[in-house]
């Protein structure tokens, strides 16, 4: 098994992430276990992408639920293209409110092996109307 490449062929299984603890600067390595008889590397990549999206959806649904009390009137949208994002559309345009939403987001990614950073966008309704490309699917 080579660590020169981010993906290596071994037995079948699900995605794991390895991290070095040698005390030196390192690069996270993602191992994708591929069953050569069952799938191509391209199919394995698609499987990992589906895994990422499924994991992301859990984060977004948890965020949508946990932010309801703070801002019941806000819209929450989830998108996976061009990147994994949750967009909150709220009329409340003040910094404390924006940061309170980010605090809930931080709490929602806490249990991920690698907490997803910067996945929350807060927009006003006017702003959102001009950038619908990034809104995706409405959750509430």
């Amino acid at each position: 098994m080579s660590l020169l490449y981010p993906e290596a062929s071994t037995a079948s299984g699900r995605e794991i992430t390895l991290r070095s603890y040698l005390g030196q600067a390192d690069t996270s390595v993602r191992l994708v276990f591929v069953s050569p008889s069952l799938e191509t590397l391209s199919e394995a990549r698609s499987r990992v992408r589906r895994f990422d999206i499924a994991e992301w959806r859990n984060v977004v649904e948890q965020f949508a639920e946990n932010s309801r009390e703070l801002d019941a009137d806000a819209e929450v949208w989830a998108s996976t293209e061009p990147e994994l994002l949750v967009t909150v559309v709220t009329a409340r345009d003040d910094l404390d409110h924006e940061l309170a939403l980010h605090a809930i987001f931080v709490d929602s990614v806490r249990n991920l092996d690698e907490p997803a950073m910067g996945g929350l966008v807060v927009r006003t309704p006017d702003d959102a109307r001009t950038r619908q490309l990034y809104l995706g699917q409405r959750l509430r």
């Binding site: 070095s20 940061l99 931080v106 806490r110 910067g118």
Partner: protein
Amino acid sequence: VPTAEQHRAQVAANRELYDEIGGRRSAHPDWALTILFYAAVHEIAALLVEKRGTVIGSGYAWPVTTHGDRYGVLVKHTPWNRLATYYDNFYRWSRRTRYDCEMPDEDRLRKMEDVLERIREEIAALG
């Protein structure tokens, strides 16, 4: 690996550059916000240098070199969660300006100055 003092010197240099290009009234507000973001990165990097034991104890390798790992440490170590919130907010705004061509207005830059100050105060409060 830079020392905490070197990171803090970089914070000061970034603040100086921010003022030089006009601060919140800059003709280049996207770069103004980016400069503030990197001041925030260096504020947090200085903390992580001084608390490297906590970083390693949280399961991260030293030195921390990526935004993702820096954020991960702040999320995993509960007393640093407020910093994670500020960093997350700053990172997304820096991406919105750099990659999505969203020009921050004067009010947004004022808010990001506020977030940078909150980061500084939070680190000071952590001791």
